[in-house]
């Protein structure tokens, strides 16, 4: 083994420091090829007959991409056609340094066995290591290192007497200089595009090629639309001196010319900067990290209440934005002006592949088309494809390659097709992809950690658990629920007190820390419930069978047992792992019927009545403490069992039993939270709900004021009390509406690790400490809490990651993200099904309430369907009515009529499928009647009306 040293100089923040590191060169790094007889390797990766059929290379060959090829063309490299590739360590390191997501994807490919990607550690190989020469830049050195490695490979493989048709090595690079030098050295080298285009029978790969710099120049005209981005060094200097601000760019959903930049401050002082107009937005895309310069105060504007969508047809780089921009700059009251700025540079792009649809260009032969993403916050993307006719009407994925300053739209390339638009499966796929929900089937590795069937309870299991099979335990869930994770019991003790038990499925018994099953569950984070579909967090065997606490089978549980007196005061709390045998799986309605039926007096019913009585006391206490009862409308679809289309929908109604179960779950969660926090103050996983800043309540207070109701928001208690007292005669729905509004004012509740935070308070529940313990089948956080609790009571052993607060904290971030995304996906799924529902229904005629008032529209809530929709008062091809908007009310005066929040209106509902990608629920006003704005009541021939509605 040869050892040698090199010296590397490195600058660190501040001064210059000389860093000396050893660098060992080895002679035991093998080439990884099957045909090699020289290397003493145990296993080979690269195949003997490495054949990708290509016009350029008719012989077997291995590919060596350089760094830029990997960085820009990862979409192509991911295609299973591309195999037998040598990834040099130099390339891998550079990729790691430059783009973490690409690095992750590259590593995933390398790990795929069937792809034959081999990592060659050329930097530590005796013959391929080179030292940087004086005057040579780091990039040049790396390029040279790549060439040296390719040279070594070609010689190494040639000496194997494999004859003229031996395997050759092909260097792929897009760098002209590099290519030239490589050719001078006698290497086989191609440009990446050249090579991919030469592939036989893989023409669709060409579409996935990202545009390289030269191609980009061709596309765009010479007109410069955007100001130049500043280089990173200037941005950093600017941020340091305070002239620029760094923040996350968030495009507005409603208005494509407007965005906010969210600036993360220390603690409370995070704020937002408003950006308006194409020039100022300066090619930033939703979620990018950008540098912003504030405009002088006299140019500050207020966020516009206009709802604007980029409807401009595929006219290239048209300046159709101008008119709309003017629209933005209309009368603005000074008071609402906000800090306004412009984007001067991009610090970090967060481009990912976007789902959407192709707007096929009007010119038939054109290969350039605009792509409209499903997410309205993402600008349209121009892509080049030869298969436009097949892709039209399909949902596709597209990645952005770049956004030159003379192009109205970013340039991108096609990644893959998802299926025909409008089909339920495709739309569901889009929905899941757009919300980043992992939804592939569980891999074999994951399934291998499932318990072997038939599963039986062994005596060893029994020895470690308390036998609670004799108790009258029952579960209460929504109808059709197969993943039952909680069950309850209540019985009277000899001393007159009550014993109440909450039994939670013992998922952590089956999912052991660190194995593939556990990692998969941790990544998924939560089960996602879509309408008529469930994306499980754990495989079905566990979720619907072994862990599900079904009736009349023996199941493992984690029990939380309290001794309470009749005033629901806790006298004793006990946690134990147990075996239970549920006596009945009830639905909420069934449980309610049992409680109400005075003739029934069996054990289950008695137990339920006891629970119900205690739950009422608990709820009263909780509300006295200032817990909020908020409201949001949830709808359930009745789904046709054959077609899986929704045939009817109803809003969810709450029964007493719902709140009974909820009370005990809350109680269990709080008890467990206290226990694990006492035991592990540094690494308990808890859940908090921060109090919202007072400004969040503005809209609620204004709205209430318009009905002469005052809302106090000083504390949760005050808010709860004033919400309870808020009543308007003859307007029963007012209170619910207020609660819906109040819900929108709240902050997100989040998981966190107790060692990393000091504020534990749960605002909504008015509890000083809270966690999630009761649904381990569908939430990963609960599994961690189970493990912590198990360690705390000595029922299980600890493991390293559980006690590491940094790892816990990282896990919490993932869980919060997944949780948020699953909620969005759920909402999107409901919206999609609502659309399906209205598609079959035709035009309906419903009563609703104004929920928000915007500058050119009102947002109407229809309680019957829990549906929200927008009624626009202006449109492009029609003279708009006279609109007067008052910020203070807020009110909107349309011609003669003034709209207030909470006004009762009548609207027609129809589905606007003129744009298949964004099928929208259209609402049009019927009552109050405003000439020229409202539409007549639709009675007959809905088809004719639709024309009018589409406007």
């Amino acid at each position: 083994m040869l050892k040698s040293k090199t010296f590397v100089k490195k600058t660190r923040s501040g001064g210059v420091m000389k860093v000396v590191r050893e660098h060992y060169l080895r002679d035991d790094i093998w080439c990884g090829s099957e045909i090699c007889t020289e290397c003493k390797q145990d296993s080979t990766v690269l195949q003997r007959d490495a054949c990708i059929e290509s016009n350029l290379c008719t012989f077997p060959h291995y590919l060596v991409p350089d760094t830029n090829v990997v960085l820009h063309q990862i979409d192509v490299l991911e295609d299973p056609v591309i195999c037998n590739v040598i990834i040099l360590q130099t390339v891998l390191q550079e990729v790691r340094h430059r783009s973490a997501p690409v690095y992750k994807r590259l590593k995933d490919i390398i790990h795929e066995q069937g792809r034959h990607f081999y990592t060659f550690t050329n930097e530590h190989h005796r013959e391929t290591f080179i030292e940087r020469e004086p005057g040579e830049s780091a990039n040049d050195r790396n390029d040279r290192a790549i060439r040296v490695a390719v040279k070594w490979y070609s010689q190494h493989l040639k000496t194997d007497e494999s004859g003229p048709d031996g395997v050759r090595v092909v260097l792929l690079t897009n760098d002209q200089g590099n290519k030239q030098k490589a050719e001078d050295n006698g290497l086989l080298v191609y440009r990446f595009e050249e090579y991919i285009k030469s592939l036989i029978a893989n023409t669709e790969l060409v579409d996935r090629l990202a545009l390289s710099n030269e191609d980009k120049n061709e596309i765009a005209s010479s007109k410069i639309l955007f100001p130049e981005h500043l280089p990173l060094s200037k941005i950093q200097a600017g941020i340091k001196s305070g002239s620029f601000i760094q923040g996350t760019f968030r495009a507005s959903r409603d208005n494509y010319l407007e965005a906010t930049v969210f600036v993360q401050g220390e603690g409370e002082d995070s704020n937002e900067v408003l950006i308006q107009g194409l020039q100022n937005l300066n090619r930033a895309v939703h979620q990018d990290v950008v540098a912003v310069q504030l405009l002088p105060k006299n140019q500050w504007v207020a966020p516009s209440s206009v709802v604007l969508q980029d409807e401009g047809a595929a006219k290239d780089d048209d300046v159709d934005g101008d008119e709309e921009e003017k629209l933005l700059k209309q009368s603005l009251t000074k008071s609402t002006r906000k800090a306004t700025g412009k984007v001067v540079g991009i610090i970090k792009r967060s481009w990912r592949p976007f789902c959407g649809m192709l707007n096929v260009s009007q010119i038939k032969e054109s290969t350039r088309h605009l792509f409209t993403p499903a997410d309205r916050r993402i600008p349209r993307i121009r892509i080049e494809t030869r298969q436009a006719s097949t892709l039209a009407g399909q949902r596709i994925m597209v990645a952005i390659d770049g956004w030159p300053k003379d192009s109205r739209y970013p340039n991108g390339h096609f990644v893959r097709s998802l299926g025909n638009a409008g089909e339920k499966d495709t739309e569901e796929e889009v929905l899941l992809l757009e919300h980043d929900v992992p939804h592939q089937a569980f891999s074999q590795a994951v399934l291998s950690f499932l318990p072997k069937m038939p599963w039986i309870i062994t005596p060893e299991d029994m020895a470690q658990r308390q036998d609670l099979r004799h108790l009258t335990v029952c579960s209460v869930d929504p109808p059709g629920c197969t993943d039952i994770d909680d069950a309850l019991h209540c019985r009277e003790l000899e001393n007159g007190n009550l014993e109440v038990g909450v039994h939670i499925a013992d998922v952590s018994h089956f999912i052991r820390p660190g194995n593939a099953l556990d990692k998969e569950a941790a990544n998924r984070g939560t089960t996602v419930y879509l309408c008529g579909k469930r994306i499980d967090m754990v495989p079905e065997l566990l979720s619907s069978n072994l862990c599900s606490l079904r009736s009349n089978v023996e199941r493992f549980a984690f029990s939380c047992i309290w001794e309470m007196n009749h005033n629901a005061e806790i006298l004793k709390t006990r946690f134990t792992k147990s075996v239970i045998n549920s006596k009945a799986s009830l639905t909420y309605a069934e449980a309610q019927m049992r409680i109400d039926d005075t003739n029934k007096n069996d054990d289950i019913t008695k137990s339920l009545r006891g629970l119900n009585k205690l739950a009422k006391i608990l709820k009263r206490k909780r509300i006295e403490n200032g817990a909020l009862t908020l409201s949001s409308l949830e709808v359930r679809f009745h789904i046709d069992s054959e077609t899986h289309d929704p045939i009817d929908l109803q809003t969810k109604e709450l029964k007493e039993t719902n709140s009974m179960v909820e009370e005990f779950m809350l109680l269990a969660n709080i008890s467990v939270a206290q226990k694990i926090y006492d035991e592990f103050p540094e690494c308990a996983l808890l859940r908090k709900h921060p109090a919202p800043p007072p400004s969040n309540y503005d809209i609620l207070m204004k709205a209430a004021k318009s009905k002469n109701v005052t809302i106090h928001v000083d504390s949760a208690k005050a808010l709860a009390d004033s919400l309870d007292g808020a009543k308007v005669d003859g307007f029963q729905y007012f209170n619910t509406l207020l609660r819906i509004l109040a819900t929108r004012c709240m902050m997100q509740a989040v998981y966190f690790c107790s060692g990393m935070d000091s504020d534990f308070h749960h605002y909504g529940l008015a509890s000083p400490i809270y966690t999630h313990f009761t649904s381990p089948i569908r939430r990963y956080a609960d599994i961690i809490v189970h493990r912590l609790l198990a360690v705390a009571i000595g029922a299980d052993s600890t493991y390293p990651d559980l006690m590491d607060k940094h790892k816990q904290s990282a896990l919490c971030n993932n869980l919060n993200y997944r949780h948020k995304m699953s909620q969005y996906a759920q909402r999107a799924s409901v919206a999609f099904h609502t659309q399906l529902f209205f598609k079959t229904r035709g035009i309906l005629n419903e009563e609703g309430f104004v929920l928000f008032v915007r500058k050119n529209a009102i947002i109407v809530l229809i309680p019957k369907f829990g549906l929200e929709g927008t009624v626009f008062f202006d449109s492009k091809d029609k003279a708009s009515p006279k609109l007067v908007f008052d910020e203070e009310g807020p009110t909107l005066k349309v011609e003669q009529h003034t709209f207030n929040i909470f006004d009762k209106v009548k609207v027609t509902i129809s589905l606007d499928d003129s744009n298949i990608q964004h099928q929208k629920i259209r609402m049009a006003l019927i009552e109050p009647v405003i000439p020229g704005v409202s539409v007549p009541v639709p009675e007959a021939e809905p088809q004719a009306k639709k024309q009018k509605l589409d406007r």
Binding site: V20, R21, E22, H23, Q89, L92, R96, K107, T119, T121
Partner: protein, 245 residues
């Protein structure tokens, strides 16, 4: 993805070693004529000089003398030019004092002190260049110096630091690895009997991992002892050739 990748998927470390491989050793014994024993040791880029005086009479206050064995006096210091940023105080700071104490404990376990009652053995170690694993390099250098001085020991004392990355123990950490947030453990071993002279760890590590880590450290120490043994034999051979001439 911040920080350095300490162990690649191919199993190579930052400097190209595999997980269980030690750095390159270079050693010389008897570098100074004045002292009773001396040695110079390079372990990669960490370089140490060890000097031994004694056994001799107790210097200073006689009350320190022990009636049944020798007193071992250790002093550890770092040259001002040993680190990337120039050091202000070569010795006497808390870290050095702690290190001196550790060295003392290590050698009290290895040197057969009971042969020299009421006397004193001085071991001075200086780090000339520091690149991780200072403690272990000092112990290894001091072992050679003690042998050079002809002081009887139970066995070679061999030391090695090991770290824990991606469920894999890494032997003989360099500075970049030590500062990369790795839980590291230093272990001094009397390899033949497998007795541990000293274990030191001040990072957090889960109990389950401790055994594998100690196992790896002991294997590494045995590797060190082989190298040291070779050095000593080489030195003796050279010395005997010289004396014959």
């Amino acid at each position: 993805m911040a920080g350095l990748e300490l162990l690649t998927d191919q199993g190579y470390r930052l400097d190209g070693r595999k997980a269980s491989e030690l750095r390159k050793f270079q050693a010389r014994m008897g570098v100074f004529a004045q002292a009773d024993g001396s040695a110079y040791l390079e372990q990669g880029n960490t370089k140490a000089l060890a000097v031994v005086y004694g056994p001799h009479e107790i210097r200073g206050s006689r009350s320190r003398a022990l009636h049944d064995r020798a007193v071992i006096n250790c002093q550890y210091s770092m040259a001002t030019f040993s680190t990337a940023e120039r050091k202000r105080r070569p010795h006497g700071d808390r870290k050095s004092t702690e290190m001196s104490l550790h060295l003392k404990q290590t050698f009290e376990a290895a040197v057969m002190t009971q042969l020299f009652p009421r006397s004193q053995i001085d071991i001075y170690v200086k780090i000339l260049q520091s690149d991780g694993g200072n403690y272990s390099v000092c112990v290894n250098a001091a072992t050679l110096a003690v042998i050079d001085a002809g002081i009887p020991m139970r066995d070679y004392v061999c030391a090695c630091t090991v770290g824990f990355v991606d469920e894999t123990p890494l032997a003989d950490l360099c500075y970049a690895e030590e500062s990369g947030g790795v839980s590291s453990l230093a272990l001094a071993l009397l390899p033949r009997g497998g007795q541990i002279a000293l274990v030191q760890m001040d990072a957090r590590l889960h109990q389950d991992h401790l055994e594998t880590l100690i196992e790896a450290a002991m294997t590494a120490c045995k590797g060190v002892s082989k190298v040291l043994d070779e050095v000593v034999r080489q030195h003796l051979q050279e010395a005997s050739v010289h004396s014959r001439e």
